[in-house]
Every structure is written in structure tokens, then in C-alpha cells.
């Protein structure tokens, strides 16, 4: 239907793509540059991209002053647990919502959407009081619980879309071959849902990894603080900040997300369904 793009068209496509990549990558490159700059180079009238006198002092300060290593470990624990638990809860629930179309399901989906309308600030005090009552305030478990609940509505919406994309015929074929419903789920549906599961896990992981406000308010003990809370301590009054250590810490904070994404992203491709119900 569409002809082969001309040489000019192809060149323009590459120019646009390169421009977009620079647009996306520049903040990260600037962060990298700032993290290695000594204090004097941070206030140059004509800043340079490559530090003239690169230093690792910002990293040393970030780690020694704010226990960023411990905070990163806390964030990793909380984010991984949130991601896995969100998937565990969302997986069967989304299957039920997608396959068993009842009025209750419609109401449930509506409620899920509605729940997203409540702002953090409105909920934080009741949540804090409830967690305190059940002994989960100031614990990572309490934080994970909140993150799972917070991520679930979107995870449900996302996963049920993936479930709908799996042809019913595949399940029916498996049933005809004698598979029980559990076997159908285990051997047919869940494996085909892998890209959806990965997307959901990524979403939950990154939301938990970056979350600040709940972590700030619900966790009081310094040793339990997560990375965003630790990083905020480099910001001072009225927007002033200790840019060097902040950039160094922020750079480290982006790495796990990048690695997690790099490892998981190839699973996002949904090619396994290609040709599944042909012929």
C-alpha cells in the first residue's frame, strides 16, 4: 500500500530519529557530566559537557553522607517485592475480568478507574493510621503493601488487555485435547502472557523505585529510607541543591531501572502469538 520511501525521505527519518534520541538522551548525558564535575565547574558561565577536571568526589560524598548504598538496597527490596506481588495478584484477576464478562466485572473495572482519581494527599493520613493499627507503619512490608495496591488498578487494565489479545481458540483447542482449566492456564495462557507480565512487572518496579511521598511519610527509621528519600536530602531551601552529590546519586539511582529494563525488554516482544491460530 505504501511505496518504498525515497532516499530523502529515509534521510529525514534518520535525522528525526537521531534528533529524538538526542532529546531523550541529553538529560542523562548531562547528569553523567555533572556527576563528575568538581564544585567550581558547576558554576561556570559557559558550562562544558566534558568535565575539565573529572572527580569521583561527588560519589564519595553521596555515599558517605547519605548511606546511598543502604538506601539503594532498601529500594531494590521494596521494588522487587512490589513488582512480583503486583503481578501475582493482577494475573488471575485480569484473566477473570477479561474472560468472564459479567456486570460485576464492569463495575469492578469502573471502580478500579475511579480509585485512581483520589490524590495522594487525601489518602495518606488514613493509610498511615491503618498501617499503624496493623503494625505495618515504618516497615518495608507496609510500603510494599501500599505500592502493590497503588499499582494494581493500572496493572489490571494493562494485563486484561493482553489477556484479550490471546485468541480463545487456543484455550478451546487445549481443552478439546483434554487439558483441565488449570492446565490451560499454566501451559497456554500464562506463557503467552509473558510480554504482559513483563510490562506489568516493569511498571510496578519503576513506580515503586521512583516513589517518594509514601516512602517519606510512612518510613521513619533512617536505616529503612529508600533511595528517592535519601536523594531529596541533597536539596536545600528554595530550590538550592548540592548539585554534584545529587547528580552522582541520581545517576546511580537510574542504573537499576536501566538494567532491569534492558534485561526484561526483549521479553516485551509479543511475537510468540504470530500464526498461532492460522490454518
Amino acid at each position: 500500500m505504501f511505496g518504498k520511501p525515497s532516499r530523502t525521505g529515509r534521510t529525514l527519518q534518520y535525522v528525526a530519529l537521531t534528533g529524538y534520541l538526542i532529546f531523550l538522551g541529553f538529560p542523562l548525558v548531562w547528569l553523567l557530566s555533572t556527576a563528575f564535575k568538581p564544585p567550581r565547574e558547576l558554576v561556570q558561565l559557559h558550562p562544558t559537557l566534558i568535565p575539565s577536571n573529572p572527580t569521583v568526589q561527588n560519589f564519595v560524598q553521596a555515599f558517605t553522607e547519605q548511606q546511598l548504598g543502604r538506601a539503594a538496597l532498601n529500594s531494590l527490596q521494596v521494588s522487587l517485592a512490589s513488582a512480583v506481588l503486583t503481578v501475582l495478584v493482577a494475573l488471575p484477576a485480569s484473566y477473570a475480568l477479561a474472560r468472564f464478562r459479567t456486570k460485576l466485572g464492569t463495575v469492578a473495572l469502573g471502580w478500579v478507574l475511579l480509585s485512581q482519581l483520589f490524590p495522594f494527599v487525601l489518602l495518606i493520613i488514613p493509610i498511615f493510621l491503618i498501617l499503624r493499627q496493623v503494625g505495618l507503619a515504618n516497615t518495608h512490608a507496609g510500603l510494599v503493601l501500599i505500592y502493590v495496591v497503588w499499582a494494581l488498578p493500572f496493572a489490571l487494565w494493562m494485563l486484561q488487555g493482553f489477556v484479550r489479545n490471546i485468541p480463545r481458540e487456543l484455550e478451546e483447542a487445549a481443552s478439546v485435547d483434554g487439558a483441565s482449566r488449570l492446565q490451560v492456564l499454566r501451559r497456554v495462557v500464562f506463557p503467552l502472557l509473558a510480554p504482559g507480565i513483563v510490562a506489568t512487572a516493569l511498571f510496578s518496579f519503576i513506580s515503586a523505585w521512583n516513589e517518594f511521598f509514601f516512602a517519606l511519610v510512612l518510613v521513619k527509621t533512617p536505616e529503612l529510607a529508600t533511595l528517592p528519600v535519601a536523594l531529596a536530602r541533597f536539596v536545600g531551601i528554595e530550590g538550592t541543591a548540592r548539585l554534584g552529590p545529587l547528580a552522582a546519586g541520581s545517576l546511580l539511582a537510574t542504573l537499576p531501572s536501566l538494567i532491569f529494563f534492558a534485561v526484561m525488554q526483549r521479553r516485551l516482544s509479543s511475537g510468540s502469538l504470530a500464526g498461532a491460530v492460522k490454518g
Binding site: R40, N74, V84, I125, R132, R186, R187, P191, L216, V217
Partner: protein
């Protein structure tokens, strides 16, 4: 293949569940201090963030803990940007730190809601006598003193020494600053192509203008018979008018700096684009840390109008009303803010200590260098301003004053229109 994938998924799930079980152990379990028979435990929520200040705070807490095994203080670090939300939640949820670091203009709201203890009955007269009554007044609400003011921030002028010398301008002594007329005239002398005499960082103009307005006795908030209203007369207009004149009439102040914070002006200052930076005394810290090698800077005393008075908004330490150990918290505060310690804290933050003896110790400790002589002298000019006690000030500032001042300094509205907008805003907020 599918089977092994499913097994991996199941294994990951099992690990997560076991992990969550382990995570529940990561916490204090909400245990209450008063039920244990060990030492009294106090939580101290601090907002120190500068490297030196952070170290000074941590060192002092460690020293206290070593010397007082029966009262142990846990140092918890907060941050200035989220402290308000954090405190609101903690107060409402009944789980606030015993000692809370904040600032005088912000604790009024918590004080009026009964969340902060009256420290006047908990502290000794000796300790209270170290701080001027005018400074205590900034943390007094409905006759209750709910914060111990300990660090002050005055407005001074940081100048490029070489540019002053080149223009033949002498540095005034620490106790005799320039008048506004002299400051404006010198800014004019320092202005030439590619160089402005001054840079007024006015990203958040309201506090700055209201602080300096006291130079001409500009109060903005007037109370009569329990009713407070905003008035903008000649006294209130003087400082904004002079700044506006510098930007648009004499063109001796950079218009670029209008959208900048104090720290944003530093590259231009170090690059010789701006000769003088009117700003906080704490800017000196960035000078020491970030000025290029060989760059000479000086701290000039506060500018004088009818007086050198400025509004004081000291940082405070408060004791939570819900604290089970108010007496011990007060004991810690008296030690933590004794003259020597207060001087160390002020040095770490590059601010002015509220204690008279601490101020003297600090000048002795630093030999008055790096502007400490000027900083120490400026403490006498700091006093409580009416806006700090006005209930609707934060709302008036955000909704009306800041946008109106930004428009005025951007030359979009006239001085009279500015006055009208500020007064009308006051009527909306202070009804």
C-alpha cells in the same frame, strides 16, 4: 519450555512472598518508648543539608549520646521541600519526632493547632536570656513560645572585590553599610557594556521584598482591633520601586536575574557579568566552595534605608506536644544550642546564630573572616515583621503577592497596580 518458564515464575513468586515476610521484620514495629525500661529515646528530625552543617549536627548528636546514656537521641534527616507535608501527616497520625527543625514563619500554623509544646516553661532562664526578646517573638504564637530560634538569615551584599577596586569603590566597614542611594550609585558606577552593577535574584520575590521593606518601615500587614489588613503606602513601595528603577531606569541591575534563585546568579557573578549580588549571608558558603581560584569576593553589610532593619525568620527547634519526654527533649535542646554548639551549627550553615554569646564565639572562631564580622553585626538588625504573624500570609504570598511582584519586576504593571493587587489579595485572604 513453557513448563520451565512457569516454574521460574512460580519460584519468583515464592521468593517474593518469603521476601515480604522478611521485610516485615525490617521496621521498628511501632514500639513505644515509654513501655521499655531502657534509656529514654528521642527522635530529632533535622533539616540540615549543607555538608558542614550535616556533619556538625551528627557530631553533636553522637557526642550527646556518648555523654548521656540515659537519654539517647536518634538523628533523622528530613528535607526542606517536603517537611511541611511530612509534619502534617505525622502530627495528624500521632507519630511525630520529639524534636522538630523548621522555621519561625512556618511553625505558627502547627502551634495554633496545638501540635507544638510551649518551651518557655521547659527551658532555663539562663538559656532564654542568651537570645534577644525580639527573636523569641518570632516563635511566639498566642503567648506560647513553640520554637527555639537558633539560626538567622540576614540579607547582605556579596561583591566582586576586583571590580570594586577597579571602579574606585571602597569596601564599607562591617558596622557601616551603604545607604540605598549609595548602593544604587555604586551599582551604576559598576555598570558598563557586558557588566551589570548588581543582580537581584527574584525568582521568589515576596519574602525578599517584605524582609527588606522594613528598611523603610514598610510593614504591609496592619492589625487593628483584631482585624488584619494589607496596606501598601509609600513605605511599602520604596524597596520594590528602587529595585525596579535599577533594572529599568538606571539599567544597573540585570533583568536576566529576575527569574533566578540566588545560586543561579553565581555563574554570572564568577564570570564578571554581575559585580554585586544582594542576597543571603549563606551565599558565602557557595563563594568559598565554588569561586574560581583567585576570585576575590567581599561581604558588604546590609543596605540602609531609614534603618537597616530586616525581617527575621529564624530556623527553629520545636518540641512536639505529643512527645512523651518533653523534659528530656528540652534538656537536649539546651545542650545542643549552648553557645559553643550553636556557633558550630551556625558555622556549618553559614548563618547567624541567635545567641549573643554564640555570635561572639563564632566571630572569634573565624577571626571575622569570610564575612563573619558582617554576618555577626547584621544580627542586631533582625526583628519580627508583621507578615510573619499574619494567618493568611502563606496563601497571600502564593496566590497574590508573588505573581503581582513578578509582574511588576517584569515591567508588566505599574507600582500603583502592584499596590492595588497586593491590597485586593489581602482582602480575599484576610476576610
Amino acid at each position: 519450555m513453557l513448563r520451565s518458564r512457569f516454574r521460574r515464575l512460580a519460584a519468583a513468586a515464592a521468593v517474593a512472598v518469603v521476601g515480604l515476610g522478611a521485610l516485615t521484620a525490617c521496621g521498628d514495629g511501632g514500639g513505644e518508648d515509654e513501655t521499655s525500661s531502657g534509656p529514654v529515646k528521642l527522635r530529632f528530625l533535622s533539616l540540615a543539608w549543607q555538608k558542614e552543617s550535616l556533619q556538625a549536627n551528627k557530631d553533636l548528636v553522637a557526642k550527646w549520646n556518648a555523654e548521656h546514656p540515659d537519654i539517647q537521641v536518634e538523628y533523622v534527616q528530613g528535607d526542606w521541600n517536603s517537611i511541611h507535608d511530612q509534619l502534617v501527616t505525622s502530627f495528624e497520625g500521632g507519630d511525630v519526632a520529639d524534636i522538630v527543625h523548621y522555621e519561625a514563619s512556618a511553625i505558627g500554623e502547627f502551634s495554633k493547632q496545638g501540635y507544638l509544646a510551649d518551651v518557655s516553661k521547659l527551658l532555663s532562664d539562663d538559656f532564654k536570656g542568651q537570645i534577644d526578646q525580639g527573636v523569641w517573638d518570632t516563635a511566639t504564637f498566642d503567648d506560647k513560645v513553640t520554637g527555639v530560634p537558633f539560626l538567622l538569615e540576614s540579607q547582605v551584599v556579596i561583591a566582586n572585590k576586583k571590580l570594586l577596586d577597579a571602579a574606585g569603590i571602597a569596601v564599607p566597614p562591617a558596622d557601616g553599610g551603604w545607604t540605598w542611594d549609595e548602593f544604587q550609585a555604586n551599582a551604576q558606577k559598576l555598570t558598563k557594556p557586558g557588566q551589570y552593577g548588581a543582580a537581584w535574584a527574584l525568582k521568589s520575590p515576596t519574602n525578599r521584598v517584605l524582609n527588606l521593606a522594613l528598611n523603610y518601615d514598610g510593614k504591609f500587614f496592619y492589625s487593628d482591633g483584631g482585624k488584619t489588613e494589607v496596606k501598601v503606602g509609600d513605605a511599602e513601595k520604596e524597596v520594590p520601586k528602587r529595585i525596579h528603577d535599577m533594572i529599568y531606569t538606571s539599567k544597573s541591575a540585570s533583568p536576566e536575574a529576575l527569574g533566578m534563585s540566588g545560586a543561579d546568579t553565581l555563574p554570572g557573578f564568577f564570570g564578571g557579568k554581575y559585580a554585586m549580588l544582594p542576597g543571603s549571608v549563606s551565599l558565602r558558603q557557595q563563594m568559598v566552595e565554588q569561586a574560581p581560584a583567585g576570585f576575590e569576593w567581599v561581604t558588604l553589610p546590609p543596605i540602609k534605608g531609614l534603618s537597616t532593619k530586616q525581617a527575621a525568620n529564624p530556623q527553629t527547634l520545636s518540641i512536639a506536644e505529643d512527645s512523651k519526654h518533653k523534659k528530656q527533649a528540652a534538656q537536649f535542646l539546651e545542650w545542643f544550642l549552648n553557645p559553643t554548639n550553636m556557633a558550630a551549627l551556625a558555622k556549618g550553615d553559614w548563618l547567624v546564630p541567635t545567641g549573643k554569646q554564640a555570635n561572639q564565639e563564632l566571630v572569634k572562631l573565624t577571626n571575622g573572616k569570610q564575612g563573619w564580622d558582617v554576618a555577626a553585626d547584621s544580627a542586631a538588625d533582625l526583628t519580627v515583621a508583621p507578615f510573619q504573624k499574619a494567618d493568611g500570609y502563606p496563601e497571600w504570598k502564593t496566590k497574590y503577592a508573588t505573581p503581582a511582584l513578578q509582574q511588576y519586576f517584569a515591567n508588566k504593571i505599574t507600582l500603583d497596580q502592584l499596590g492595588t493587587q497586593l491590597v485586593d489579595g489581602g482582602k480575599q485572604v484576610l476576610r
